[in-house]
Symmetry: C2
Subunit: 359 residues, 2 copies
């Protein structure tokens, strides 16, 4: 997008960094990232290190309370100002507006992953034009003429696909893709990722598309096209497909495309033992069905769960092992906590799947 | 769109009328229609009646070979020129272009249900501006600000929903919605339909949206919003939700939204006994799974199949009864051929479902 040079960026979360709404920022801090993240802008995090706040690991990303404090402290202003929130509805919180306008006036390009496009906002667009900076709306779909329909070209792809699906959304499926790829790399397997969200693009994953802003009829074809390109460009041993939402999430079911249109005959299933209702919306009472049922359901889609990855959020340390053992006993599959221990324990099952698929 | 008056229309299919690509035209000829269809423009159908060609029923819709012949024969030029094809990929066949430009020059508004928008076509847009006619791109989604997210408001809807799903696409699900609504009306039940395709809009169904051109993240919310509005405006006894594609169609799975986000706890399942592979694409070898399996799969989505509607395409007359009996025996459900015999036989199961849902 800006040519070969890696640009520096500040991630802006207003005061959302320590909430689930900042999952985009969390992914960028955790890395990988298309940009070199040199600062966080969040009033509630000021004075701390973004990495330390996220998971206790210092990453040399200082947090500042406001733009002036940041510009005064940094040796050089960041090239880009990245909105690090994924609000419900994808709408720009009005409280973030003045800071965005100030960043534009200070000469930073603005990168936006929300559904609301900055380039369509008259005031922001005019400010950007005056300042000579770019507005990059990551979620804006390609022009219709450039979108792909599903053709069955998936049949010509060499690398077997594994869909990383979840029993709910916002569980860490994207991060698990990175952890799985790293585990594969340690085992001598070349893994690639096809991203399906705006954060994957921000992280610099070279193949993928933004599923949720793609017109529905083109989702399967854009996915197929991204997989075909990934296979051609990288010739990987395995391709992990980043899942979105969950097969039975009432606020927007997703996942069938990955296994059917992407012909992923294997699945890694991400699950949060401590979560009860979809998207934690207890008032709606839509209880997340049991993992064993999800595995049976996936069988109807001609795919097989190879292993489980567990999200330990809200799970007290002493309950982690019992939760893992219970799930392993019920399913006969290996379960790992990817953020705590990586995913090396899943490599044997992945390797067996690849051998079976190549036969 | 044009105020209260019902406008006249010619449906243009070039030479596709007698192919599955003209399913939009078939729906408009069969009715209901937002327009008063007074002619068909199709070189291969010229001299015949569109209704007779479709299903043997004369409907007083003469077919013409070209625009000049039509304008010479009709007492008054139609108000609207409706593109009646749904080509694979939604692209405008180049062969149709000169006739569209001629229709514009002759002063007709052009109504287009393809993915390719006429208003974005420089030559066609300029011609329309010169002629002072409108270009209506039915599939153009609403501006992002006007799109709805799913909120759970479906919980406040009074009328139980029944999703009309299919084991494949292009099976007649939309037409079955009309047949079911008519059967309900005869039995004293007030039925409404929520459409999910551009043809439903062309038919004048007051509630619905075009699912396949909606950005994926808004599909569930637009569906929920349409159902909520339908329930408010019409207070029906039951709402039929028009299904798209099939749960396991690899070229674009669909249907889970209707049962999960629309909370349709009942399903009418449309099936074509003579069809073997999805979308008749035998070369891909994606065999349509058995109906009994589809019914089991739907159980995982917390919905129940109430009855079956069968498409008799390519099914010789003598195989119809055996096919029905086999499906009824295997499923324990009633199956009807809606185009041949209506759907009155399904009303008892629908009535039982409504009683159960209101409890």
């Amino acid at each position: 997008m800006f040519g070969g040079m890696r640009q520096t960026a500040v991630v802006f979360t207003d005061r959302f960094f320590q909430t689930a709404d900042a999952k985009t920022a969390h992914g960028l801090v955790r890395g990988p990232c298309r940009f070199d993240v040199i600062a966080l802008l969040d009033r509630d995090a000021a004075g701390r290190d973004a990495g330390e706040l996220l998971d206790g690991k210092h990453r040399g990303i200082p947090a500042f309370a406001d733009l002036d404090a940041m510009l005064a402290a940094l040796p050089k202003k960041p090239d880009c100002f990245v909105l690090g929130v994924a609000t419900s509805g994808g709408v720009l919180p009005p409280s973030m507006r003045p800071t965005i306008l100030a960043a534009i006036a200070a000469g930073m390009h603005v990168v936006n992953g929300l559904h609301e496009f900055l380039a369509d906002d008259a005031e922001i667009a005019a400010a950007a034009a005056r300042a000579g900076v770019r507005l990059i709306d990551v979620r804006r779909p390609r022009p219709r003429r450039e979108l792909h329909f599903w053709t069955g070209a998936i049949r010509q792809v060499n690398a077997p696909r594994i869909a990383v699906l979840g029993t709910d959304c916002a569980l860490g499926k994207r991060t698990t893709c990175h952890v799985l790829a790293a585990a594969c790399a340690r085992a001598g397997l070349k893994a690639a990722i096809v991203h399906t969200g705006q954060t994957g693009w921000l992280q610099g994953i070279p193949h993928g598309f933004v599923l949720d802003s793609t017109p529905n009829d083109f989702v399967s074809g854009e996915l197929e096209h991204a997989i075909v390109q990934c296979d051609k460009d990288l010739a990987p041993d395995v391709i992990f497909l980043e899942g979105q939402s969950a097969l039975r999430n009432p606020s927007g079911p997703c996942g069938a495309e990955l296994v059917l249109s992407g012909e992923a005959r294997g699945v890694i299933l991400q699950h949060a033992p401590a979560r009860h209702c979809f998207e934690d919306q207890e008032h709606l009472g839509n209880v997340i069905p049991p993992v064993t049922e999800e595995i049976a359901l996936l069988g109807y889609y001609r795919t097989r769960v190879l292993g489980m990855t567990l999200n330990h959020a809200n799970l007290p340390a002493e309950r982690r092992e019992p939760a893992r053992e219970e799930l392993q006993r019920a399913t006969g599959l290996t379960a790992v906590y990817p953020l705590l221990e990586g995913a090396d324990a899943l490599v044997p099952a992945i390797r067996a799947y690849l051998q079976e698929q190549r036969r």
